[in-house]
Subunit: 287 residues, 2 copies
DNA sequence: CGCGAGATTGACTCGGGTCAATAGTAGTGG
DNA sequence: CCACTACTATTGACCCGAGTCAATCTCGCG
């Protein structure tokens, strides 16, 4: 996946952005422009948009799997809203390691981190063919002058993203590997449901490595944990196809440590058991 | 510290907020009001503020050590800017565990996470006596209509906070305990420097437990790591007094694992050494 | 001076990272 | 169509970093 890395290595993004006659140019086919109301609907923001928004049109751009929407350090000038497709945003540390920050999909906004320094702080890569709506930031703020509701939309979106990241920090700081994977699955299921897809059966659009990076785990741990959930009957796993069998148990799954109060008691029994049947399967505790 | 927890348990915050004649009421003493320019200066935002901002005054409020500025779920209506003092913001998970999200100090903004749902998503607690500037959100957006630069200030501050949280996620997801503590110290030193304090010698305003929560570690690990840095000569530690001795080494400190390529080679030498001088001090690898 | 919160340090354990081998899958080209 | 290659995923063996439990020390405060 991520395609043959032809697209991985070319920074054609900027040329793709504006009026490139190639892959994004045709302005008649399909849906290449959206008005403000459609944008707000996508964001799930119930902003009462006033009159003639038909003249406030925002251009769409298509990205193919593996293409970069923007890269770290690139001059910031536009925000993006995902109309369709799946992406990842990543940080690159000082020696090339990727750290996945999010998996944006329909209705999510990209590029907000570029506002502060006027340069994007993260990199966005398409995990599938994508259709994005361009929101030129200058145009947006200018519009804010006329349409006050737009300003509130922006505040709302940025605050929402901030809350999401806070939850992420809480998860990375406090939860066990099992709990992280469980919550990741639940969160994905919820998002698919919100998009009208099945929340019980879906395909992961990212690799185990990317999931691991996102959750602060290794790909092996992710794989093992999925297998464990499968054995317990919480989910079914077949490569990237995930079936959710017990969403409740996944939601309430916590660290194993809390069941540590019985550690000493287990110790004796465990040592005895080890002599009888070494390598016994472990049971995960839910709730 | 955190004072006698009398103040910990009382949600008097709301009554403190507006015109309480008690601790924050007097409107003549000290500096109880700031204009827009002063606010922008505090935020380190170089927004060209236009004319008569003298009539745009924002009230100050004082909080004592241990008091809550806002709690999770409380109705959102105002943002805060720290004028002096130190605080922490925390998330409370479903069973009471605190997760520290940030340690705001002079120039930082609080409450942004409340915009989205109109309820604060985190809790802010004063770690020392504090002086905060109130920014009623309604008033702020109304002002945005007249002073466009204010809008950009808001976007900038929110984006900055978002980038900060992204860096936090990257750290929690990828760095070792040593690296996290090292970066935490460097970051604190930088912030103290930016406030005009010494970056070489300062006092921690928070407990080991709070640092650990912030960094996704236990308090024991934090304490041990500080001791280790002390032994190596990177810092000096005496309770909450920290002296930075080798800022460069702290900045470039990485995971130990990367030096894992030599693990097997070390193994033999290590086992041999253990027989000769068991319990030998360990050396941390920098860069 | 004693009390309680915080900090330090040691001993022990285990969750999850590392290394490595194998197997399934997709895209490519003959 | 099937081999060939490159990714991706699964699984096992091993071990280390950091969590847990616990004892002791320090310090500020009533």
């Amino acid at each position: 996946m991520l395609s043959t890395d032809t697209s991985e290595s070319r920074p054609t993004t900027t040329s793709t952005l504006h009026s490139s006659p190639m892959e994004a140019g045709r302005q008649r086919q399909g849906r290449l422009w959206s008005n403000l109301k459609e944008v707000c609907d996508l964001l799930h923001i119930t902003a009462a948009v006033s009159v003639n928004t038909e003249e406030l049109l925002f251009q769409h751009v298509q990205f193919k799997t593996g293409q970069r929407v923007h890269t770290i350090g690139q001059a910031f000038d536009t925000l993006y809203i995902v109309n369709s497709g799946f992406l990842k945003t990543v940080l690159i540390d000082e020696f090339g390691n990727e750290q996945v920050l999010s998996f944006p999909m329909k209705g999510d906004m990209l590029g907000v981190d570029g506002i502060h320094t006027r340069h994007y702080a993260s990199e966005a890569v398409a995990l599938s063919d994508c259709d994005l709506i361009l929101l030129p930031f200058k145009k947006l703020t200018a519009l804010g002058r006329v349409h006050m509701e737009l300003e509130n939309v922006m505040y709302g979106v940025m605050s929402r993203e901030l809350v999401r990241e806070q939850a992420m920090i809480g998860m990375l700081g406090a939860l066990s590997a099992e709990a992280r994977v469980a919550r990741f699955l639940v969160s994905l299921a919820d998002r698919f449901a919100a998009m009208g897809y099945s929340s019980k059966l879906f395909n992961l659009r990212m690799t185990r490595h990317e999931i691991g990076s996102y959750l602060g785990l290794t790909l092996e741990t992710v794989s093992r944990t999925l297998s464990a959930f499968n054995e317990i009957g919480l989910i079914t796993v077949d490569q990237r196809t995930i079936g959710i069998k017990d969403a409740e148990a996944l939601k309430t799954l916590r660290r194993l440590p809390p069941s540590r109060s019985r550690a000493k008691q287990n110790l004796a029994a465990k040592q005895k058991a080890e002599q009888e049947q070494p390598g016994d399967g472990q049971v995960l505790t839910a709730a």
